[in-house]
């Protein structure tokens, strides 16, 4: 069973054609990089998988099922913007996520908060951007979600927080059980994390494959390949 399957997906907004006939088969149990420049359609693709946006045409299956309210319980979405209820504290945010999802591990979440140096009782509205970026990660990685969708988790984050985020993903990732899809346009830092990659440009997939194979075949880093194809 594929983690994500998209068949001829188009997404049109008022004046833009964000996804133009995307065909995608993502195998489960891998960390996949969704690489592309700004405006390529990466956010749109992830939101559609999370059920937060709906394709204009085409079919999307997550873990073999049509995207629906039920599949939302199987996916964890880490958005690019801050979507927190800012009057909550991290502790309350964890508790709330726990009440809405059945796959949350609260003690793991509290451990992760401590590891990432987040005060559980400090209101989210008073957290810095880097801290909020780390908190987003805590809420997603302390769930046992089978598909984790991360939209630009490093964008605009300070370097120490970025390192912490990458390390947390690398160490908390449950290989084989979880599929993590990370979208980014900053390939340099994160490319070692990806097992497979999909390059998205202007709403279409221009290249995809295993990261190390692409490196071996082209003697180039993913960042260099990205500059070439996107």
């Amino acid at each position: 069973m594929l983690a994500i399957e998209m068949a001829n997906v188009h997404k049109r907004y008022y004046r833009s054609h964000a996804l133009r006939g995307v065909n995608l088969q993502m195998e489960p149990g891998k960390i996949v990089g969704l690489l592309g420049p700004n405006g390529a359609g990466k956010s749109t693709l992830l939101k559609i998988c999370a059920g937060l946006a709906h394709p204009t045409t085409g079919r999307v299956h997550v873990l073999g099922r049509d995207v629906s309210t039920a599949t939302k319980g199987l996916t964890a979405f880490v958005p690019e913007n801050d979507t927190f209820y800012s009057w909550m504290t991290p502790r309350q945010a964890v508790a709330f996520e726990n009440s809405m999802f059945s796959d949350m591990d609260v003690s793991d979440a509290m451990d992760l908060l401590r590891e990432l140096r987040l005060d559980p009782d400090n209101k989210i509205s008073s957290l810095s951007k880097g801290q909020r970026g780390r908190l987003k990660l805590v809420l997603a990685m302390s769930r046992r979600a089978r598909v984790v969708l991360m939209d630009e988790p490093l964008a605009g984050i300070d370097p120490p927080s970025r390192a912490a985020i990458l390390e947390t993903i690398a160490s908390r990732y449950r290989a084989g059980e979880q599929t993590i899809i990370i979208s980014t346009h900053e390939v340099l830092e994160s490319e070692k994390l990806f097992e497979d990659v999909v390059f998205l440009s202007d709403g279409q997939i221009v290249l995809s494959g295993n990261a190390d194979e692409l490196r071996a075949n082209r003697s180039k880093s993913l960042n260099e390949i990205f500059a070439e194809v996107c």
Binding site: L52, H54, P79, F84, Y85, F96, M100, F101
Partner: protein, 261 residues
């Protein structure tokens, strides 16, 4: 169900400060009127002034009721929390009803406080008491055995009416999101359209409802110096309930399957 209650709790925690402010403002206003009414009643034409002014909070609640549904939804989109709220495995209708429950509670609470305020100001206005106790229709009504049950049904109708208006606000927002750029305009248009349809088809709906069992409120009329007892069936009750349910179900489905967070 557990998830729904959790969502209700979250809605409550996010809005209780606003409720506290509205309640405090109403109480302060009514206390001030209660103090002033004694001196004002001594003025020429000033007897009913304080009592009249004490109805102002109702106007506030009225406006709030019309716009609450729309702004409660819009708030989520503006603060980007819509992406979180809609990422939960909860149906669209459940999301809407959880918000509705809290908004309804808040509006009803402020209404009750405002009503208590009116009673407070009236009871401290010397002439008012005398005027009311000497009015035959009022006294007949207060003394009737159906006073309590009628009062309860009026309250229920009021609550249902508020729920209906909040639902219309939510429905109009959801439809608005389907048309980008002019979503606000569409929302207003839908809101007006729903009201228009209610008035246009209202009489028909009430005709149909007249075949269903309806609760009755008892009032008294004073025409030709005779106090007569009137029974009024609450015909709008069933249609309002039906339309509210339909609005919430349809808006919920659209929220789930068409709306981009």
């Amino acid at each position: 169900m557990k998830r729904w209650w959790s969502m209700v709790g979250k809605e409550w925690r996010g809005t209780w400060t606003l409720l506290a402010v509205a309640t405090a403002a109403t109480v302060a206003f009514d206390i001030w009127l209660g103090i002033k009414t004694a001196t004002w009643s001594l003025m020429h034409m000033g007897e009913g002034l304080a009592v009249g002014l004490s109805f102002i909070p109702f106007a506030g609640v009225g406006i709030a009721t019309v716009v609450a549904g729309y702004f409660a939804m819009r708030g989520e989109w503006q603060s980007h929390t819509s992406m979180r709220t809609l990422s939960y495995p909860l149906s669209g209708t459940a999301v809407l009803t959880s918000k509705l429950a809290v908004i309804l509670f808040n509006l009803v609470l402020v209404t009750l406080v405002a009503a208590a305020g009116v009673w407070f100001v009236a009871s401290r206005t010397p002439g008012f008491r005398m005027m009311m106790t000497s009015d035959p229709t009022f006294m007949a009504w207060v003394r009737s055995r159906e006073f309590l049950t009628s009062g309860i049904w009026v309250t229920i109708s009021g609550i249902l009416g508020i729920a209906f208006m909040v639902a219309v606000g939510m429905f109009s927002f959801v439809i608005g999101t389907l048309v980008p750029r002019i979503s606000g305009l569409i929302a207003v248009a839908v809101h007006v359209l729903v009201w228009y349809l209610c008035f246009a088809f209202g009489p028909h709906a009430m005709y149909v409802a007249s075949f269903l069992p309806n609760p009755v409120i008892v009032g008294f009329d004073n025409a030709l110096d005779l106090v007569r007892r009137i029974e009024v069936p609450l015909l709008p009750l069933w249609p309002t309930l039906a339309v509210t349910a339909v609005l919430l179900l349809v808006a919920g489905r659209i929220l789930e399957s068409e709306v981009d967070a």
